[in-house]
């Protein structure tokens, strides 16, 4: 059995996915692992990868090829190659939903829209990593101001029937907006609905810079927030594909690249194991 891994070192969490090629060209996900990235990126990557190996019941040496992705990808000392998260999200989304033509990825500290070709290749992309609007960071902050947990805000926002008007998408300034609505005794669900819609509009206006062709697949940690998914669907006027693995799409894409590269390296004789043995002589 041949294993390969993708490690997506995000700003907030590090996702590790181990995949296996059953020999018939159909890759299969063996394990998904999640650890907080924290301040020590290198440690998080190592910890995440080894934890995933343990869970898969294999040793790190049995993993033939590791591809790192995400903002911390160059800190992965044990990785064999790095790929951009753009390529990995496109590849991973295509693996889960082969008809994907657009990926909207909302992560902990950035958001992007990727135009994807029929083979899962990147045609075009736009990215926001300059401003926390449209990222998980924004929602975490809003939740904190409201005295709620991040998991609560999405479902609660769906109960809002009269969304408040949010005039700013600045994560800092929206705090004052929220506080003044709370002082006016607006309902938490209406405030949250307003907040989610404001961020959805902002994200869609960024995403419109690439062709927004169906099917649209949402990836990244924020895809776990049902309120954000629904708000985006409302603003876009289309349904989004959201996999239970949405959070792992980057790592899945990286693992798929790793399987492919392992094959190539194997053929040229420089696969991980051979390299390791050879280095002693």
């Amino acid at each position: 059995m041949r294993y390969a891994a993708g490690v997506d070192v995000g700003s907030t969490q590090t996702k590790s996915v181990i995949m296996r090629d059953n020999g018939d060209g159909t890759p299969e996900i063996v394990v998904r692992g999640l650890v907080d990235t924290g301040a020590n990126v290198q440690k998080a990557a190592e910890h995440g990868f080894h934890q995933a190996c343990r869970e898969a019941g294999i040793s790190a040496q049995q993993v033939g090829f590791v591809v790192g992705t995400g903002y911390g990808r160059y800190k992965i000392a044990f990785g064999n190659a790095q790929m951009t998260e753009i390529s990995c999200h496109a590849r991973g989304a295509h693996f889960i939903y082969p008809n994907t033509r657009t990926v909207i990825d909302m992560g902990g500290q950035d958001s992007k829209a990727i135009s994807v070709g029929a083979e899962g290749e990147v045609l075009d992309f736009v990215m926001n990593d300059k401003c926390a609007a449209g990222t998980g960071r924004f929602l975490a902050n809003a939740a904190e101001v409201m005295g709620l947990s991040l998991d609560e805000v999405g479902p609660l926002s769906l109960q809002g029937t009269r969304p408040v008007k949010i005039t700013t998408v600045c994560t800092v300034f929206v705090e004052s907006d929220i506080l003044s609505y709370l002082a006016q005794e607006k309902k938490a669900e209406d405030i949250l609905r307003g907040v989610h819609l404001a961020i959805a509009r902002r994200t869609v206006s960024l995403a419109r810079r690439v062709p927004l062709e169906a099917e649209l697949t949402m990836t990244g940690g924020v895809a776990r927030n049902i309120g954000m998914v629904k708000a985006l669907e409302e603003v876009l006027g289309v349904t989004l594909q959201v996999s239970p693995d949405a959070h792992y799409v980057g790592a899945i894409g990286a693992a798929l690249f790793a399987l492919e590269k392992m094959d190539q390296s194997f053929e040229s004789g420089i696969w991980r194991g051979a390299h390791a043995t050879g280095s002693g002589h």
Partner: protein, 271 residues
């Protein structure tokens, strides 16, 4: 003798001054008061005004009231309101007569205002869409670094090896700050890096209106020496800070109120 109050209802703090004028003498600030703005703007305006009149030893009913700041329409007891831009221009030129350009950094906005020779507003640029470059950037950083806000400015002056902050966004910068902390960078060096980044943004805004020959730096952030130093090092022209930098807009509003009052008095009575 005329009594005019200027109330600047800002997003962080509400500032009020009482000005005494008349008899050909230069108007003088005879009372000042502040209140945290919070979410009840009218109450904050009232509190600050009451404190200012109490200090001045005058009665509220004898005072003509001009408001300014983002909450200027929130005080129903006002006689007149003026925009923050006009008030800043008027107040800065009054306190620092050589002012050609005003830089106003408050808790939620940054403004660059170019004045005409007569002291009117020639052109202005502002950022109030995003916390980058505003006082709240510093506020959040201070909180993260567990430093008191009033100490931030002086601590930054002790920096030996300033560490740049590349994030423009006040929120994303926090991760960068945390990384610096965990890499063992000193608080002083981080703070200086933050001021450098804010000063870079302010310079860009100033360049868009023209830097001129003398800058009046006003607003709450102008009280911080680290920021003054960072700006002075970049702009190549004198950066002057009035003693009471955060009440400049309130003074400006009061002066505009005074002008209106005088105009009304000299106009022929109707009917």
């Amino acid at each position: 003798m005329r009594l005019v109050a200027g109330i600047d209802i800002g997003s962080g703090l509400t500032k009020a001054v009482v000005l005494q004028a008349g008899g050909g003498a230069t108007p003088q600030v005879i009372g000042r008061g502040t209140a945290k703005t919070g979410v009840q703007l009218e109450r904050a305006a009232h509190q600050a005004l009451e404190a200012a009149t109490r200090q001045a030893g005058v009665k509220l009913v004898d005072v003509y009231i001009a408001t300014t700041g983002f909450g200027r329409y929130a005080a129903p007891f006002r006689d007149i309101q003026a925009t923050d831009i006009t008030s800043a221009a008027r107040g800065a030129r009054f306190l620092i007569p050589g002012t050609t350009t005003v830089l106003d950094i408050g808790s939620q906005s940054t403004r660059a205002i170019r004045l005409t020779e007569a002291g009117r507003v020639a052109q202005f640029k502002s950022n109030d869409k995003c916390a980058a470059g505003s006082g709240s950037f510093i506020l959040r950083a201070a909180k993260y670094l567990e430093v008191k806000l009033e100490d931030v400015g002086d601590l930054a002056l002790k920096a030996e090896n300033p560490q740049p902050i590349s994030s423009v966004c006040a929120v994303l910068a926090e991760s960068e700050i945390i990384n610096h902390v965990s890499a063992g960078v000193s608080v002083e060096d981080i703070l200086r890096g933050i001021y450098d980044s804010l000063a870079d943004r302010a310079s860009l805004l100033l360049k868009r209106v023209g830097i001129g020959s003398e800058i009046a730096f006003i607003g709450g952030v102008a009280r911080q020496r680290g920021m003054i130093r960072a700006l002075a090092g970049r702009l190549g022209v004198p950066v002057r800070v009035p003693d009471t930098a955060d009440e400049v807009c309130a003074v400006g509003a009061a002066l505009l109120g005074l002008k209106r009052m005088e105009a009304r008095e000299s106009a022929p009575a109707l009917g």
